[in-house]
Symmetry: C2
Subunit: 542 residues, 2 copies
C-alpha cells in the first residue's frame, strides 16, 4: 500500500457547521426542490404559522395570501393575518434563527413543531434573491416594520430598517421575494394548497390573490374557533427510558414517587403504588436527579404492564365531525358524504394521536379531468394539507390498502370520490424536515384504515342504494312502456276506457316505485347509527 | 372575540434548540424509523465512514461488521476497519457532535457529506439504551480507546474512560448497543445492505457476522483502489448568485477578475474577458469583498451564456465499468450482463454528476422467490446502497419510465433481472437527511434513463438471440425425432444400412444447427460496438 495518508492530514479540515449552513446547502430537505413545490412551501410555512398564532390568541383567522410575478422564475409572496403579531425584541429569533420556537418542547398540538419553517423561508429568500424578508407586526402594545436576514455562519438574525408604524396595524404581514420558483395551477400549486387549507380549517377565512390578479375567497364554514388544545403532561405510555431519565434529572421533586405524580398525566398515587410493587428493587424514595438508566428502564417497562386510562383528547385539536361536514358541503357539495371521528389511540407505545376521515362522492368531489372524474386523496396532518411525497405517507399506504370494490367503488382512480384524512397529534412523526408525509408507523396506518373503511361502509350502502334505484328506475321505465299496450288489452276485456285504465295503472306503478325508493333511503339511514352519513335523497328521484 | 391572548404571552416560552435536540426528537429523519431500518442505518453510517476513510488514506479496505442480539429488540453492532484511525483530540467532534465533519465544505466526492451520520448513531445509542459508544482507534501515532456520548442540550461531546491501548492496534473499531431495533433477512436488512456494498465497492473485503453466528465473507473482486477523487474548484455552471457573493466576500484576491480565475475551474483570463464583454457595467477591477448581489446576479447570468468545457471527472469517483463487470460476475454470476459508464453531466445549471448502470440477467440476478424470479433495482449514490424510500427516488422514477417490453422483458417484476444504477457527484441531492433517495432532479432522471436504456439495448439483442436459439432448439429436436423414421424410409428406397443413414443425417443436422447458433452469437457481438455486453454463449447450446 503506497502513499498511505495519515489521520492528522485527513482530519485537518474538520469543522462544525451551523444548522443554517446545513439547510442552505440542503434546502431540498426543507421542501425547496422544484420550482412549483418551492413556492407552495413558502405559502405553506407562512399560513400554518398564521393559523397557529390566531388559534393560540383565540382569534378567528382572516388570512390574505398574495402572489405576484416579478421576473421569470421570481415571485413575491405576501401573507397577512389578523393574529397577535410578534413582539419586537424576539422577531429575529422567531423568523431568522433556525430551530428557535415556542413549540418544540411543549406537549401541545400545533401545526408548527420545529422552529424551522418560518426561518427556512427567510433563508430561501436570501439564497435565491439576496433579499431580506420584510415584516410588519402589530401587537396589543406596539406596531413596527423591519427587514430580516440570517447570518448563515452563526445562525443568528440580522435585523435592519426597524421602525415604528401606525399603531392601528394589527397582526403580522410578511413580504418576501423568492427565486427559482414558479406559480402553477396544479395539484401541487398554491391554489390547491389554499383550497385544502380552507377544507381543513372551516373556521378560517382565506383570500388568495393569484399572479394574474384573480381573487379567490374561501369563506369560513363555521363561526366558532376550534377547541383549543391544552398543554398537558405527557402520558406514561408515550415515554421512553431516555425521556424518563431526562425528566427526572431536571425535576424539582424530592422523591421518585412525587416526581412521577407531578410529571405525568393519569399517574396517581395509586398508580405509583402499583408501579412500586412491580419494580420493588427501585427505591421510589430516591432523589430523581440520581435516577440511573437501568432503574429508569425498569420503571418504563412497568409503565407498559399496568392499565392506564387512555390519553385524553385535551392535548389534541381535531377539525371535528360537524365541521368537516360543513366544510365538505361548502367546498365539495357532494351527492353523498360520510364522516368519522375516531377515538384517540397511541403509537410507539404511547404517543397519543387521533384520526378523522371523510368520504365525499359526486358533486365537486374527486378531480375533474378531460377523461372524466378521478379519485383524490386529501391528506392532512394537524389540519395542514400535505401535497407532496404522498408515496411514502402513512395515509396513502392506508388508503391503497383498502379494497375499494367491496365498497361499491370499482376503480378508485376513475370515480368522483374524495377521501379526506386528518391525523392529529402533539407529535406527528413526519418522514422529513419538510413535513409533507407521515412516517409509516403501523398503529397510525391501521387506525387510518379503520377510519376510512368506516366511512366506506356508508358509501357502500349509498352506492348499492344507487344501484337499486337504478334497477328500480329501469324496471319502472320498462313497465311504463307496456302500460299503453296493457291498457288496450284491458279495455278489450273489460270495456273500461283505455285512457282511464292507463291513468290508474300509471298512478299505481308510480306509488309503488316511490315507496321502494323511500324504503331504501330509510334502511340506509337506520343502519348508519351514530355515524353521520348524508346522502342527497333527492338524487334517486330525478 | 373573547379572551384574546397577547403576543408576549404566546411567545414567552421561546427557545433555541440544539441540532442534537432536534434529531433526538426526530430520529426518524435520520433513518431511525422501524426496527429493521434503524439497525441497517447504523451499519450504513459506520461502513460508509470506514470506506471513505480507507479511500482517503489509500488503504484497500478490510471491514468487519458484527451484529449480536443482546435482548429482545436490542442489538450490539461492531464495525472495525483497517483505515487511518481518528486522532485522539478530535474523536469527540467526529463521532459525538452533530454537523461536524471534514467533508461539508470541500468540493470532493465522498460517501458522507453532512457530518451527521456517525454522531447520529451515537445519539441513537444513547436515547435507546442510555449507553455510550465504545471506540478503539489506532493512527500512525498512537492507539487509544474511549467511550462517547453527546451532551444533547449543547451538541458537545462527552468523552469518558479514555486510555492508551497497545500501539499495534490500527484502524477504527466502533462498538455500540442499540434499542428498538431488529435483525431481519429482508431486502431492507443488513445482509442485503452489505451484499450491495460489496457490489458497489469491488475493492473492499467485507466480513459480516450475523446474530446467529453465521459468517459471510464478501471477497474483493479487484485489487486496485478506485481512482481517488480530487478536491477541485467549483465549475462556474454549478454556482448560484448566493454562492458567488459568499465566495467573493471571503476572497483574498484584489480584483473581481483575479477572484474569478482563482476560485473557479475552467475559468481562464480569456473567459474573464468574454464575461466582462457580456456584463460591461460591472467593474471587474473592483474589490471582490464589495461585490453586490445585483452585480453577482449579472455575472452568474453571464456564466450561463458563455461556452464552458464540461466539468471533468477528477472530482468524481465512479465504480468503473470494468469493476462493475468484475463485481457483477463475482456476486451475481449472470447469463448476460451489459454495463454502461456515461460521460459526466450537470444538474441545476452546473453541479457535475455521472451515472453508471449495469443490467444482469439470469444466474443469481433478480430475486428468487417461491413463485419464481423477480426483477430487482439496485440503487446506489456515491457507491453507497440505498435500500429505503425507493418510491421517491430519481433512480426508481427513471427505471419505471422505461418500456421494458421494447427490450424483450415482458414483465420486469417477473424476470431474473437486476438493474444497478450508481449516481456519483460531489453533491448528491438527497431527498432527506437519512440519505436514502436521490431527489427528483430532471437532468438526473433523464441521464439515468439513457444509461439504463443503453444497457437494455444489449439485453434486447441477447433476449432476441435467446428467442432464436429457443426456436432453433425446438426445430432441431423435432427433426431429430423424425430421423429414425426417415432413415427407415431411405433404407427401403436406397438399400443403404439404416444405422449408417441415421448417423449421417444426425451429423448433418447437428452441424447446420451449430452454425445457426454461432452466426447468431457473432451478429450480437458485432452490433454491441464499444459497450461491454457479455452474454454467456454456451447457454444456448445446453
Amino acid at each position: 500500500m503506497t502513499n498511505v495518508v495519515d489521520a492528522d492530514t485527513i482530519f485537518k479540515e474538520l469543522r462544525t457547521h451551523s444548522i443554517s449552513e446545513f439547510f442552505r446547502k440542503n434546502s431540498q430537505m426543507l421542501g425547496y426542490s422544484g420550482k412549483v413545490r418551492s413556492l407552495t412551501t413558502v405559502v405553506h410555512e407562512y399560513s400554518s404559522n398564521s393559523l397557529d398564532a390566531c388559534e393560540e390568541a383565540n382569534i378567528l383567522p382572516e388570512i390574505l395570501v398574495e402572489v405576484r410575478e416579478i421576473a421569470e422564475d421570481k415571485y413575491s409572496v405576501k401573507v397577512k393575518d389578523n393574529g397577535p403579531g410578534i413582539p419586537t425584541k424576539i422577531i429575529g429569533r422567531v423568523l431568522a434563527t433556525v430551530l428557535s420556537g415556542t413549540k418544540f418542547h411543549r406537549y401541545v398540538q400545533q401545526r408548527g413543531q420545529q422552529g424551522i419553517g418560518g426561518s427556512g423561508c427567510t433563508l430561501f429568500s436570501q439564497i435565491t434573491t439576496g433579499k431580506p424578508i420584510h415584516i410588519k407586526s402589530g401587537t396589543t402594545k406596539n406596531a413596527y416594520e423591519c427587514d430580516l436576514t440570517i447570518d448563515i455562519k452563526s445562525n443568528r438574525p440580522l435585523i435592519t430598517n426597524m421602525k415604528d408604524i401606525d399603531g392601528s396595524f394589527k397582526g403580522l404581514e410578511i413580504f418576501g421575494e423568492f427565486g427559482d420558483v414558479k406559480y402553477e395551477s396544479s395539484d401541487h400549486g398554491i391554489f390547491e394548497y389554499v383550497r385544502r387549507t380552507a377544507l381543513s380549517n372551516p373556521h378560517a377565512s382565506i383570500k388568495l390573490i393569484e399572479p394574474d390578479g384573480k381573487e379567490n375567497i374561501f369563506t369560513r364554514s363555521v363561526l366558532e374557533l376550534p377547541k383549543k388544545p391544552k398543554i398537558t403532561k405527557p402520558h406514561p405510555l408515550g415515554i421512553g427510558t431516555n425521556d424518563l431519565v431526562e425528566f427526572a434529572h431536571m425535576s424539582e421533586s424530592r422523591k421518585i414517587s412525587s416526581f412521577l405524580v407531578d410529571t405525568f398525566s393519569r399517574l396517581s398515587q395509586n398508580k405509583v403504588d402499583e408501579l412500586q410493587a412491580l419494580v420493588s428493587d427501585v427505591d421510589f424514595g430516591m432523589d430523581p436527579k440520581k435516577l440511573a438508566w437501568s432503574d429508569a428502564e425498569k420503571i418504563v417497562n412497568a409503565f407498559r404492564q399496568v392499565k392506564w386510562i387512555v390519553p385524553d383528547l385535551d392535548s389534541l385539536s381535531t377539525i371535528g365531525g360537524g365541521q368537516i361536514e360543513a366544510t365538505i358541503k361548502n367546498i365539495l357539495n357532494p351527492q353523498f358524504m360520510s364522516v368519522v371521528e375516531r377515538r384517540p389511540k397511541v403509537f410507539r407505545g404511547g404517543i397519543p394521536f387521533v384520526v378523522e376521515a371523510g368520504i365525499a362522492y359526486g358533486g365537486n368531489a374527486g378531480k375533474t379531468t378531460d377523461t372524466g372524474a378521478r379519485g383524490v386523496t386529501l391528506r392532512f396532518a394537524n389540519k395542514v394539507p400535505l401535497l407532496f411525497d404522498g408515496s411514502i405517507c402513512a395515509i396513502t399506504t392506508a388508503i391503497n390498502g383498502i379494497e375499494w370494490k367491496r365498497y361499491g367503488i370499482k376503480d378508485f382512480e376513475n370515480e368522483p370520490i374524495s377521501v379526506m384524512v386528518n391525523v392529529s397529534s402533539v407529535y406527528v412523526p413526519y418522514s422529513g424536515v419538510g413535513k409533507q408525509a407521515v412516517s409509516q408507523e403501523p398503529e397510525i396506518i391501521d387506525e387510518i384504515k379503520l377510519a376510512v373503511q368506516d366511512c366506506a361502509r356508508g358509501l357502500q350502502r349509498y352506492m348499492s342504494g344507487e344501484k337499486n334505484r337504478a334497477l328500480h328506475t329501469s324496471r319502472y321505465k320498462i313497465i311504463m312502456r307496456y302500460v299503453s299496450q296493457l291498457a288496450t288489452n284491458l279495455n278489450e276485456i273489460t270495456g273500461i276506457k283505455k285512457e282511464e285504465i292507463e291513468k290508474q295503472l300509471k298512478s299505481l306503478i308510480d306509488t309503488r316505485y316511490r315507496k321502494l325508493v323511500e324504503d331504501e333511503a330509510r334502511n340506509n339511514a337506520e343502519s348508519d347509527g351514530e355515524k353521520s352519513d348524508y346522502g342527497d335523497g333527492e338524487e334517486g328521484e330525478g
